[in-house]
Symmetry: C2
DNA sequence: CTAGATCGTTTACGCCGTAAACGGTCGGGC
DNA sequence: GCCCGACCGTTTACGGCGTAAACGATCTAG
C-alpha cells in the first residue's frame, strides 16, 4: 500500500525526472579534476548516499583522488555545499529541463508561475536529498527566500509580474506568498520520500510489525491512517498552486481598477 | 531600515516569546545530571550558539561535566536532537504557552486552527535555530508532516476537524494543506531571522559596502529592494492563514450540502 | 636542459562521537 | 561495623572528520 502514484495517472514532474537519468556514474574515473566535475560528483553522491554521508575523503574517493586534492578547486566543505545548491538551482535556466522552458518566454504571468513551480518541483524530485540544503542554506541577501535563491531568479520573478501589471508592492507580496508555498509543499514532499526510503532499507526483522505503533489510543488516526498514507502530492500541489494563482489574479484586478491603492495582500 | 516590526503595532507572537525569557542561564551548575536538564541545556545552547556549534563535549562543559557523562541519560547525539525537537514541540501542550490554551478547549475548528498556528509560530520565533530541526528531522510515521510532528498533535487536529463535520478525506486534506502552510511560512521567517543575525555579528569592514552587491544589472530588484527588505511576516502569516481557513470553510460547506461526495480539495 | 608552474599526495593537528575501563561514593543486608 | 553492589561521572582510547603545510611528480616555456 501507499505506492508513489496510482497506476492510471503518472506524475508529470516525476516522469520528467526519471527520463533524465541517463548520465553514467562517476566511480573512480582516471583523473582530470575540475570544479565542475567535483560539483557533479558531489550532487550524485548526495543523491545516492544522503547528505550526512558526504565527506571530503569519501567524495575524493569516488573521484579516484585523495581528499586534499579537492581543495585546489573548492575552498572547503561549506563552499562545496553552496556550490552544490547553486548548481542544482541553476539547472532551471537550462534550455529545456524536461520539456519546457519558462524564462523570458511565456504566455502571461500565470503560465510563467506554473512553469516555474513545476520546474522547481522537478528539481526537488530529482534530488530529494539535496533539496533540504536548497531550503536551509542562508541566501545571498536577507530578503532572498528559498527555494528561489538566486538574484537572477528573483529578478526574473519580479520583472515578469511587474511587466504584467502588478504594482511593485503586489509583486513583492506575490514573491513571498509564492516562495512560502513552494518551500512548504516541496520540503514536505521530499521529506516523505526520504522517510519512505529510510524505512525500506531497514527491514529490521518483521517487515510489518514496526509500521503501526499501537494507534489504539488515537481513534481519529486509526480511522484515517489509510487516507493519510495515500500519496496525493501531485494533485495537492496543483490544487494549491491554482488557488494561489487565483488569489494573485484577484489582487491584480483590484490593483488595476483602483490604481494608486496599496492596501491588499498585506 | 528593515526593523523587525513597525513601531505602532507589535507582533503578538513575538511579544509572547520575549516576555517568557526569564529563566536563568545554566552555565556550570554544580551537578545532579538528568535527562531533562540536558535537554533544556541543549535547547538553550542551540538558541545561543546555533545548531552546528552543539557538540557533546561543549554541551557537557556548559553543564559542568565531561561529554561522556551525558551518555548515561541520552543514547547519542542524534537521539539528543530528537529529544530537543520533541521537547520544543511538546511545549504546545503546556497549560498556557503565553496567553491561550488551544487543545481540547476552543470555540469551533477555526478558532482551534488559529490558536494552533500561532502556538507553533511562537515556538518558531522563540527558537529560530531549533525550528529547522523541527522541520527536517524524519517524523515518527511517514505520513506525519512537520511541524505537527507528534501523533498526539495529528490526532488532535484530525479529531477536532472531524468533530466539526469534516469528512475524513477533507480533514486529511486540510491537515496536509495546513502543515505545508505552516512549514513554508515559519521556516522562511526563522531563516530570515538567522540571516539577519549572522550578518550583524560579522561587520567585516565597511558596514555598508557588503549589503548591496551591485544590483545594477537587476532593474526590478533595484527598484523593489526597499520593499523586499520590509518585514511583514506577521501580517502575511495572518493573511495566508485566514485565506486557508476560508478555503477550508468552503470545503466544509460543500461537504455538508452534498453528503457522500469526495471529490474536492484533491 | 632547466626553472617554474601545476596538481595530486603525504603528513600532521585538533576536534568530533562514542566504546570501554575505571574509580569514587553511597545505602542497605549481614 | 563492614562490605558490596549500584550508581554516576572521569579517563583513556580509537577511528574519522576538515583542513594547513610540506612535499614530490609531471609538464611546459625559455
Amino acid at each position: 500500500m501507499a505506492k508513489t502514484t496510482s497506476d492510471d495517472h503518472r506524475d508529470p514532474d516525476l516522469v520528467a525526472v526519471q527520463e533524465g537519468h541517463a548520465a553514467a556514474s562517476e566511480l573512480t574515473r582516471p583523473a582530470g579534476l575540475d570544479r565542475d566535475r567535483i560539483l557533479t560528483a558531489a550532487i550524485g553522491f548526495i543523491d545516492e548516499n544522503g547528505l550526512s554521508a558526504l565527506t571530503m575523503r569519501r567524495l575524493g574517493a569516488t573521484l579516484g583522488v585523495e581528499a586534499m586534492a579537492l581543495y585546489r578547486y573548492v575552498p572547503g566543505r561549506e563552499d562545496l555545499l553552496d556550490g552544490v545548491v547553486d548548481r542544482v538551482v541553476e539547472t532551471l535556466f537550462d534550455k529545456d529541463d524536461g520539456d519546457d522552458i519558462y524564462v523570458e518566454d511565456h504566455n502571461g504571468w500565470q503560465d510563467y508561475l506554473m512553469r516555474l513551480a513545476h520546474g522547481v518541483r522537478r528539481i526537488a524530485l530529482a534530488h530529494p536529498s539535496v533539496f533540504p540544503l536548497v531550503a536551509s542554506r542562508p541566501p545571498a541577501a536577507p530578503w532572498v527566500r528559498p527555494p528561489l535563491r538566486s538574484l537572477r531568479m528573483v529578478e526574473s520573478f519580479l520583472g515578469t509580474l511587474t511587466e504584467a501589471g502588478f504594482p511593485d508592492q503586489a509583486a513583492v507580496a506575490a514573491y513571498r506568498a509564492y516562495s512560502s508555498f513552494l518551500l512548504g509543499h516541496l520540503l514536505l514532499e521530499v521529506t516523505q520520500i526520504g522517510a519512505q526510503v529510510s524505512l525500506l532499507d531497514q527491514p529490521e526483522g518483521d517487515p510489518e510489525a514496526q509500521a503501526n505503533t499501537d494507534l489504539t489510543q488515537f481513534p481519529a488516526l486509526l480511522r484515517t491512517e489509510a487516507l493519510l498514507s495515500l500519496d496525493k502530492s501531485a494533485a495537492e500541489f496543483e490544487e494549491a498552486l491554482e488557488n494561489l494563482l487565483d488569489r494573485l489574479e484577484r489582487v491584480l484586478h483590484e490593483a488595476k481598477n483602483s490604481d494608486g491603492d496599496v492596501s491588499d495582500l498585506a
